[in-house]
Amino acid sequence: MLATSRTFEANARAGLANENLQRALALMRTGFPQRRRLAVERLPEFEVLREIAKSIKDHTIQHLDFYLELFEENVLASGGQVHWARSPEEACAAVLAICRSVDARIVTKGKSMIAEEVGLNEHLEKNGITTIETDLGEYIIQLRHEPPSHLIAPAIHLMKEQVAETFRAEHRALDLGRSLAEARQLCDEARAVLRPRFLAADVGITGANFLVAETGSSIIVTNEGNGDLTQTLPRVHVVMTSLEKLVPTLEDAATLLRLLARSATGQEFSSYTTVSTGPRRPSDLDGPAQYHVVLLDNGRSALLGGEFQEMLRCIRCSACMNHCPVYAAVGGHAYGWVYSGPMGAVLTPSLIGIAEAGHLPNASTFCGQCESVCPVKIPLPKMMRHWREREFTEKLNPPVYRAGLLLWAWVARRPALYHALVDLTSRVLGWGGGSRGRFRTLPLANGWTAVRDLPAPEGRSFHSLWAERQRGAGKK
């Protein structure tokens, strides 16, 4: 997927001006956090589970080489195959090769952010294979040729009226006079349109929420059941995933599952949790004849041992973006690539470079909401700060900002000069803003005064007043 993270500021402006988006985000802002809070309140051991989950993921990451090989061994033992992909190109090539080997014409897809990351749909379409998204949100944005704007609710940027419009434009065979006013009607229509496509598909591609090393299984959670139809009906099941989804045991996966839905949607469990191990066995009633796992690295292994390693704990629940006031203001598309919100602000620069994605870790107030709700306790603000440190070291910030910062820091290290300048500026601005008590505009302060008044200082610095008071009291 082509990144537009460089133009974050313009993207954000567009998001702020988009009325439908703002209405949709207003609904999200109250919905997800409220439901998560209720779910957490109902589970007294939630905080303990967070600690356990963190240690499970940390342990796996520390022994990633071991568990990756164990996973492959067990996939092979169950009759499946693992395809190691260092880059998006290798991942796309692996999937295309699998599709070609069975003369696939139609591919159905469950939700996979990794497929988005590598641009799989475009690659398959370019090679004459029709791809059909089966997650309702993904299906909607596929019809609209838009990227997802959220990890688990890819069409959250849309209001249902916009979806109705899209369905009318795309489902041309259906009665023009039908009602699409209710969400239920939209779901029913998507279901009716998608059902024959599930049956026609040659290959089904899903993502994975977890990979289990001890059994060689992949696990997906969905609320629509589309993932199950995608992976059991076609002849071939391809799991598009990345290496940090790994956990050692089914027990570990179960622990993480207890956190996942609660953190994501506030459900205790998603409607469907499906464990897939290998292709159909002779005794199975259904299932695919082939089971493939395409394991993407794309820069993740380079995070091992560095200051961003903890990002590999992420289980893609979306709690961070659901609670992020910046995400809630601008929406997911502003971030300009696959991942958005705080997790995107840390992960995106790791995957496409800080020069491309520099705005993302900067566009945060460090309010800390994300870290406080992360089920695996990723210190997201700290890692955004690490990106800012890289940016500063590599001199990627705007020169004016840099110069201003360095000058300020130079003065701040000289208390006598600092105190004199602060008192002087306080006097000047206190006098200048005195009659109104505030400024509507001020040279060099446009970033502030463009949207709010600047309260005027009282007119003397604390330290000068304190010194006076001490002298008056006859002390030193």
Partner: protein, 250 residues
């Protein structure tokens, strides 16, 4: 107790009254207050801009300035959080400075939580007949757990009624340099905050961090709202007569 006041750069420059209110409250709590002159800023602007070298230099200056006091008290959760949470992190790989950073971190406090948790202050004797709402500044809340302490003391102010906003824990959009680097996003955040404050019908909004207060006051004034904006210390110390609300002329 011999207590040093860390004034913070914003209080020093914009609103010294908050510093004097802090001194008054600390003295009422039985502390002897000193204000080391070699303090300037805690270093957050550099720290959050990725300038680690300057942050360390400024932090060392703070370590020197505040050596030898029983406690260091800060009328800001943000600057107190910087010292308590981030200084030890900053010097994690510097064994010569780390012990000093950890010692300072362990005895540095945000003002209101210090009064309640360390000094055992449970009530103040002042009166302020206002319907107020309170904004939980992010760093104080999430880095230091400042939540109940300000409410407990506000409950003891005669004539004061607190009406909570539902989003009291949501960021106001200040975020240090964030508010000038991304004014459009900051504007949306502070506008949401404004709407909630207005909705309560409160006559005043209080908080424990001047950064947030300048942002909120600036937005309320831009829209001609007549809602008073003040630091909680001014109200607790009974010093509201000595200085007009933030952004209002004398």
């Amino acid at each position: 107790m011999r207590v040093a006041l860390f004034v913070t750069c914003l209080v020093d420059f914009f609103r010294p009254t908050i510093g004097f209110a802090a001194v008054k409250l600390l003295e009422e709590a039985g502390c002897t207050v000193e204000v080391p002159w070699t303090q300037t800023c805690c270093g957050q602007p550099a720290y959050n801009s990725g300038d680690r070298a300057d942050t360390k230099a400024i932090a060392k200056q703070v370590l020197d300035a505040f050596e030898g006091y029983d406690h260091v008290v800060v009328p800001s959760g943000s600057c107190a959080g910087m010292i308590r949470r981030h200084y030890p992190e900053l010097f994690a790989d510097d064994p010569t400075v780390l012990p000093r950073a950890e010692r300072l971190a362990a005895r540095s406090w945000e003002l209101v939580s210090f009064l309640v948790d360390i000094c055992g202050m449970h009530a103040v004797t002042t009166r302020w007949d206002h319907l107020v709402t309170y904004h939980d500044a992010c760093s104080g809340l999430r880095e230091l757990g400042v939540k109940d302490q300000p409410r407990r003391l506000l409950a003891s102010v005669g004539g004061l009624t607190l009406k909570e906003i539902p989003g009291a824990e949501i960021c106001c959009g200040f975020g240090g340099t964030f508010c000038v680097k991304y004014p459009g996003i900051s504007d949306k955040m502070v506008s949401d905050k404004e709407a909630e404050i207005v909705e309560t019908g409160a006559e005043a909004v209080l908080a424990g961090d001047l950064g947030c207060l300048l942002n909120i006051a600036g937005k309320l004034h831009r829209h001609g709202r007549r809602i008073e904006v003040r630091h909680i210390a001014e109200v607790l110390a009974g010093m509201t007569e000595e200085v007009p609300p933030i952004g209002v002329p004398r």
